[in-house]
């Protein structure tokens, strides 16, 4: 198991490095000279050059990359050009917001989707299964802003049950915050349910069709015991991986939902940074999102190796 994790860690480190390069290059492709943008088109060249020098944007690319990366490790993520604030000050609250929403959605969708997937598998090809599978999938592929709008219209406008903006007033209790976050979280639940339940269903069906399940049934065990003791622990492994891959999306990809619900999360921050050609903010926030994703997949690998005896005890007799 140690080997497995070490390999995974190594690969993640390489990917992280490549990611940072990619982000840096990508962000730098945004057209426009940094200082020029700040000072405007009317400023004279000398001032522009001076500012460029001050900001360090006239140095060679490799040096700029190094400055950025080493700054990153020291907690200095650069200064936002649009807001003139340290980037960390901007990312901090945005990240918190995204995490809250993600956690809320997560807590709702994961148990629901797993139960849905298992039930669909156990009722394979019957009506319950079709409803869960096709229904889940249809809801999942609808773009999140369509789902969000539908929910806003139904619950926010016509039924007036939940607030349309996700911003609770400062200092609200957890419960109040949850009330405000409910609609966007529900949108996410609808979007993710179909996908997660489908993987769980596939994993459960594979376990149900396996020889070892046949052995268990032929031992004379009641069906419920067979499912509980023999099937479930083998069916959930793929689900873990899938859930991990959704974290990147949950933390940084919710641009649309954050726009709809006026919620200051990472997605919106990145969008603002891209629009404003705010390179330091853009690069650092995208990298943060990537890091969250890599950490999540790494954790999923750890969980997988702990739960899969073939990896945990890799040595044979």
């Amino acid at each position: 198991m140690g080997r497995f994790l070490l390999t995974r860690l190594g690969l993640a480190a390489i990917t992280l490095f490549l990611l940072s390069v990619l982000v840096f290059v990508g962000a730098n492709l945004l057209p426009g000279n940094v200082a020029r943008r700040k000072l405007g088109n009317l400023a004279d060249q000398a001032s522009v050059d001076q500012l460029n020098h001050q900001l360090g944007t006239d140095k060679p690319i490799l040096q700029q990359y190094w400055n950025w990366i080493s700054g990153f490790f020291h907690g200095d993520l650069g200064t936002s050009l649009t807001f003139n604030l340290p980037v960390s000050q901007l990312i901090g609250p945005a990240l918190m917001h995204s995490l809250k929403l993600a956690a809320f959605a997560f807590v709702m969708v994961v148990p629901l989707a797993i139960v849905g997937g298992v039930v669909a598998a156990l009722q394979r090809d019957r009506l319950t299964d079709r409803i869960i599978t096709i229904g889940g999938l249809s809801l999942a592929v609808v773009p999140e802003f369509v789902t969000g709008i539908a929910l806003i219209l139904i619950f926010g406008l016509w039924l007036d049950l939940f607030p349309v903006s996700a911003n609770a007033p400062d200092g609200s209790s957890i419960l109040t915050q949850m009330k405000y976050l409910f609609l966007p979280a529900l949108t996410l639940v609808i979007v993710l349910f179909g996908y997660i339940s489908r993987i769980t269903r596939a994993g459960t069906i594979e376990a149900l069709d396996a020889d070892y399940t046949r052995t268990a049934v032929l031992k004379g065990l009641p069906r419920r015991t067979v499912v509980r003791r023999h099937v479930l622990r083998n069916s959930l492994l793929p689900t873990i991986a899938v859930i991990a891959t959704q974290t990147g999306y949950l933390i940084g990809g919710l641009v649309v939902i954050e726009t709809l619900f006026n919620y200051p999360g990472m997605g919106k921050l990145i969008f603002t940074a891209a629009n404003g050609k705010d390179f330091p903010l853009l690069a650092s926030s995208v990298l943060i999102v990537g890091i969250v994703f890599l950490v999540a997949t790494l954790l999923a690998d750890v969980a997988y190796s702990l739960l899969n005896p073939r990896i945990r005890y890799a040595t044979a007799e």
Partner: protein, 296 residues
Amino acid sequence: MTTLEDPTAPIAIPIRPDETKVERYERFRLLFRSPTFLLGFFLAGIWVICAIFGNLITPHDPVAPDILSKFEAPSGQHLFGTDKLGQDVLARVIVGARSVLVVAPLATILGTVLGTTIGLITGYYRGFVDEATMRVVDAVLAIPLIITALVAITAVGPSRTTLVLVIGFVFTPIIAKTVRAAVLGESRLEYVQAARLRNEHGPYVMFAEILPNVTGPIIVEFTVRLGYAIFTVATLAFLGFAADPTVPDWGQDISAHYPSINGGYWWPVLFPSLAIATLIVGINLIADAVAQLFER
């Protein structure tokens, strides 16, 4: 009847050609009988017709502002009501299909072609090329697709061409990953080893031997990604990156009228949303039906 006298004569062989031909027709017949497929085909088909015939079937001119009739609720005259400029929402919805259905399929084709090539190469050659490419793919996939597309579009500015290119490139890594997995599975089979033993060149083995056997997963992947492409185009338009702001566009219309919801004007937002939803659901139902077809 068996020939026993001459041991060197070829043995009469009942092959099963009829069975396979029947099998193939059976597959297609099953497809057309599958309710999933039919529903999907119907839903997607409506929008394809709208995209093709566009202006010819609209009841009103979609781009004729008429301030006096702005924000009229759905009625006999305007089935979907009018928007803030007095334009007929139904007409805009019909014509709006065009921009989506031009960009999305092209982008998906681009992504599929690139992704398949990369998948074939990495899956067949393995080794360093494979490892290096997969690390890069993993790095790209660590960022949510929509963010990557967003940043790229911001950099190059939206247009039909740039949207096709950006979305195509953004989809390439994930398609490459799927194709690579299928190719890895095929490479283990002995006919690939047999080809190598004949000293066949790499490109021959990849394209003439392996590719015909992975078309199934590729087609499935294509239909799934098509749905995502439509989704991405609409989302980008919603965020302000429509291909052509002068032409009716679902995402753009939604974003333009979203603030008006507070005033109770729900129809300019709902109908384009439903359009997006039904088109994507239709495509995905087709994708599901096709996937089931290849599973058997």
